[in-house]
């Protein structure tokens, strides 16, 4: 039993302070305002306060912290992307992840499980070799493995997938991990709060004031505040905020659904992803299987669930793991993914001075939480794009400078 827990037995009261205070009202002005109290927004606030000595900051959250895609994703963390830009960026993120539980003094259950992306066709095998080679070039632990190694890591899996989609190999990424997603928001929230950042929940942004292409303030459901810097980190609500400032983006919103089973005794160690079968699955520390598939094929600004998603995912799960026939699904849910044409994010400065974007996170935003916070904090503090996000600017779409992550991220979360 860790000593940390001793105090709870020895104390009559619950010896824990608030993780984040609840400020009474908004101040009239802040040095920077972050719209969106998800993992990304709170991480940016945390690093602004910790690394850039900016403490007069407000985070505005329409609902409750971590209630958007931070709390709706399937918590997979990896860095085996396809493009050099992506690989370097996500690798930095994974490095940050590994120390977060200690940095926060809050256990995020960052669990290193290993990540297999299965190949059922020679075309996917080719793409995986591409990813593996680019990854290795940048020092990332990533390799193409043969079916025997897949079988060794997951002996109970049906390697033929019911006989019609035999597994020809896999991209294996040893650092692939999962984490307790809500706690990430809490950890960053607590860390930011400790350093003086104000977190305002149930505070909606209604307007953004701009004078001669420069941000001057924000109108909220709890009054107007003045600020020279606004960071927008609102995932599926990005188009709505961009409308407020009159910026156009190629972001389109698709629902991304997931579901979770009843708990069972642990049997699945690695994270298994099959692009062809549209399945990704891992088993949590509670014993639940967290399962996801690909995006809904149409645009929709809603988090409703659909039955055909659950049916399709269940069918594919049983192709890989027929012995799960009796396992029951407890719950399904959905998030709104802000997709971009090249499956890479839109980050950094915009044509409006003082308005910064952290968006276009589609289906891959959770794993990038720490590095987004860090690089966006730098960008806001210095009014200069951090090197790692230089390639992700909004202007790339006008300039035909797309990133080309499409091949790697299309299904593999």
């Amino acid at each position: 039993m860790p000593f940390r827990l001793l105090k709870f037995a020895l104390s009559k009261d619950h010896p824990e302070p608030r993780m984040f205070r609840q400020p009474d009202r908004l101040k009239s002005s802040y040095d920077a305002v972050i719209i969106g109290g998800g993992g990304h927004g709170l991480a940016a606030a945390y690093y602004l306060a910790r690394d850039h000595d900016m403490k007069n900051i407000a985070v505005l959250e329409k609902g409750y912290i971590g209630g958007g895609n931070t709390g709706r994703n399937t918590t997979i963390i990896r860095s085996n992307y396809l493009t050099p830009e992506g690989v370097k960026f996500y690798d930095e993120s994974v490095r940050l992840w590994q120390d977060l539980s200690q940095d926060f003094d809050l256990n995020l259950f960052y669990s290193n499980r290993g990540h297999f992306t299965l190949a059922h066709t020679d075309a996917s095998l080719r793409t995986m070799r591409w990813r593996a080679e680019v990854n290795k070039h940048f020092g990332i632990d990533s390799e193409l493995v043969d079916p025997a190694e897949v079988q060794k890591a997951c002996p109970m899996m049906d390697m033929t997938c019911g006989g019609h989609a035999p597994i020809l190999g896999a991209l294996y990424h040893a650092p692939g991990s999962i984490a307790r997603h809500d706690a990430v928001a809490w950890g960053y929230g607590r860390g930011a709060d400790l350093r003086g950042v104000e977190i305002h929940q149930q505070t909606e942004v209604l307007g953004i004031q701009i004078e001669s292409d420069r941000v001057t303030g924000i109108e909220t459901s709890h009054g107007t505040i003045s600020t020279p810097r606004v960071l927008c980190a609102v995932a599926g609500s990005t188009p709505r905020i961009l409308d407020l400032v009159g910026l156009r983006s190629p972001i389109y919103i698709h629902p991304l659904q997931a579901m979770v089973s009843e708990p069972m005794k642990p049997w699945l160690d690695p994270i298994i992803v099959s692009g062809s079968l549209h399945v990704y699955v891992s088993q949590t520390a509670r014993g639940e299987l967290v399962m996801g598939a690909s995006l809904d094929p149409y645009e929709l600004h809603s988090t409703r669930s659909t039955l055909d998603f659950a049916e399709g995912l269940a069918a594919h799960m049983l192709e890989l793991f027929p012995f799960l026939s009796h396992v029951k699904v407890v719950r399904q849910w959905a998030g709104m993914a802000d997709m971009t044409p090249d499956f890479a994010p839109i980050m950094g400065k915009t044509s409006i001075e003082g308005f910064y974007l952290d968006s276009g996170w589609g289906t891959w935003g959770f794993k990038a939480t720490p590095v987004c916070g860090k690089t966006m904090a730098y960008t806001v503090a210095h009014d200069r794009n951090h090197d790692l996000i230089e390639d992700f600017s909004l202007s790339r779409f006008e300039n035909y400078e797309l990133v080309g992550e499409k091949g790697a991220a299309s299904v593999g979360h």
């Binding site: 039993m1 827990l5 001793l6 971590g66 009796h326």
Partner: protein
Amino acid sequence: MNQRRLPPISGEWIDRSRPIQFTFEGTRFTGYAGDTIASALWASGQQILGRSFKYHRPRGILSLANHDVNSLMQSGQRLNVRADVTPLDDGMTLSAINTFGGVMGDRASAIELFSPFLPVGFYYKAFNSKRLFPMWERLIRNLTGLGQVDFSTPHIRTAKRYDFCDLLVVGAGVSGLSAALSVADLGADVVIVDENAKAGGSGHYQLGNEPFRVEKTNELLNAIENHPKIRLYTQTQASGYYADGWIPLLDHDRLTKMRAKAVIAANGAYEQPAVFRNNDLPGVILSSAVQRLIYRYAVKPMNRAVVLVANADGYRTVLDLISNGVTIAAVVDLRDSLNSDVARSLDQQNIPIFLGYCVYEARANPGRDGISAAVICPIDANGNPQTGFKQTIACDGIVMSVGWAPAANLLYQAGTKMRFDKGLQQFVPDQLPSGVFACGRVNGVFEFEQKLIDGRRSGLEAAAYLGLGERIQVTISPERESPSHPWAIVEHPKGKNFVDFDEDLQYKDFPNAVQEGFDNIELLKRYTTVGMGASQGKHSNMNALRILARITGKTPGEVGTTTSRPFFHPVPLSHLAGRGFTPERRTPLHSRHAALNAKFMLAGIWKRPEYYAQLGKTRDECIALEAQAVRHQVGIIDVGTLGKFEIRGADAAEFLERVYAGRYRNMKVGTTRYALMLDETGVTIDDGIIARLGAEQFYFTTTTSGATPIYRELSRLNTMWQLDCGIVNLTGARSAINLAGRYARDVLSKLTDLDLSSVAFPYLAVREARIQGISVVLMRVGFVGEWGYEIHVAAEYASALWDLLLKAGLEYDIRPFGVEAQRLLRLEKGHLIIGQDTDGLTTPLEAGLKWAVKMDKPFFIGQRSLQVLAKRPIKQTLIGFMLDPNFQGTPPQECHLMIARDQIVGRVTSVAFSPSLSRHIGLAYMRPELAEIGDPISIRLSDGTIVSAIITSTPFYDPDQLRQREDVTQREEVTV
């Protein structure tokens, strides 16, 4: 062992003539058909049915209503079987899940000793050392989890069914039955579903000694069973509500997907536990569960009961207990006055009634499998226990009847706005979505007669919505007393007063979580995990919400509820998956390929011959032989998976001009042209051949994988542009065979009268002809680099044509070839494959396809982007390369990288050993500045080895197209 079975009770569900033997935890038990596992065990005196999730405390029956997740069992390959509702089956071998050493002596119950160290969210507060976490994690993973997966479980394929109705009524209790009847009488098709084994709901067990409830319920059931417009399905759950009345109905055998024009939610309510110390011990039971035990299974729940009440239901339960031989040790009423005639009459019968009292704690019996006493004490106006006035009352059971929470899951999922009714102390529907109605307890109506009326009211409203009958005003009398108490929660310094039985959450966990800042219902849920267990908060969410409301000084309505999501109860993967159709497409020639020993591969969802296996030869040898047959004799390949389309109309040429990058308006009838398709950003997305068959008629192909998405996109564009043309997708209707090689013409000429001379049918021409009476479209193409014909034919004639060609080719040693040989042959010819030699960002400028793009057209998709891109340097360019002819080592593979000065400068997209050239050749993308023909390049293999190659011009084979010239094809050899 049947010591608790009561004498036969009218309407009981058990069949005493059919005893059932089963074992639980190695001990043999007997029950009856009609019993659930839990009722049979309880009847036999087995009170510990399972262990709790965290502390492994003994647990028994709580609800008997499909949310007793502390009595989950393993039954052979089935895991997490809910003992409270699962029918007993002969020979069942059951064990409790997640115990260490059995349910009676679970060693993990020692964890409870550490409970002071395990505050709410303790796992966030410790074990976070980077070094030690993996060790802790292993320990935690082994302690958690519920049932065990048996890896030998087969893939169970269940059927699915679609169904339709005018009205779906969810819940066959009295209000639902009344609603169904009133609508069916007006002529609507009505379906009623209920998850219980029998219909009738609480009309059959919440009796309070009043038999008229049973009689009236049975009257309704009789009317329904004989009603031609009503179908009643029991043991069927409505698992969720999806948009537009789309409701999955789950029964033992299958999932039925119901599309209902209107839905009435008559789901009822979940009885809620009171919160006091040891409220989880076996023997502390909800009053509705007690009544179910008695009237459904004829089981005496206990001998001597303390009944904690705060509503009329509780007093009725007291009457039911008395009339079935249970001694009432005390009635403990949280309220301070006698509210009903029943209560007053009990008082007169000298049943001890304690008004304004609570149960402060339950005491465990010496065997720790039940209770020995209830400790009660008065409560003050704020609900705080006055512990100075404690009394201990001996009993072996405590019955809780303190309140309800609406089973409003489907209503929430449908988008209903609920409001908190202070009088009822319950959330009730405020604004219902169109076509959705509610009645009965879920609507806040509890009294028997009122439920009948409310059912009829909702039925008539639904009928009016369906266009049947008139909407009439019906008045529902308000409840005489509140069905739910606002605060049936008692604090205790020693805790173990459970709020969430799934997750072992005690009262103090909630104020502690709020103290840590989780003071919003959604955050509270995520931090404490309340409601996240297998019962999804059916008996815990309401109490959690009340606690949060009290701490934050809000009303429950202001606190609000968490989002309700499917499923209502957990649904097995087997039922969701159904039979698991896996779409697979076979070409019309599939059986021919199979007969020729084809080794099939997946191309999208198509099965295509990768190569044709030959006895004693390796895969590579077979492929090489196939390729050589094409180069030296003649080969035949099934290319029927290509997308095949016809477009007709005055604007057909205009349409093609817009969607493809080349020029087609000026094509002569009888000619073909390469067609390249771009997206709006100028990226190459598909290619094919366009053939002009008439002035206003074109036939064209797409790639195999492009067939579906391209057709979808073309249809969209055609709708948008409103041009005078129509597109027909012939992909499935037509087959296509490619005949290629030196003797292709000789083979074909044996079968057709068409003039095949170069003059009459030149390279890249198209002809409509007959082959032995079969109508075909012939295109002279050269994808594999030989004299060849792509023959398009109606799918039903494909195998006849294939047979004819093979037979005619016999004398020329014709050989079928597969995808691999074709890939090799086209590579020798330097032809790229979209998707393999291009990626998601490749422009025609980079892929060497500039010649296929006519920038001077007025418009085509991608043109504007290309105009921008054309002014910039390209980032990569497609090159050919060759290895040294004497290369002996491991050859590079596709997607190996080119490295220069430790930088990635390129990537191999295709590579193969060319038998014709006797060396490895390939295509690759290179940085343009490093892409001079003749330059050396370094390719890095997976193991880090560097292989050198030379950049070469393409085509590698027959660069001067001599193979398409009549005079040359007759020559024996071609220089390369």
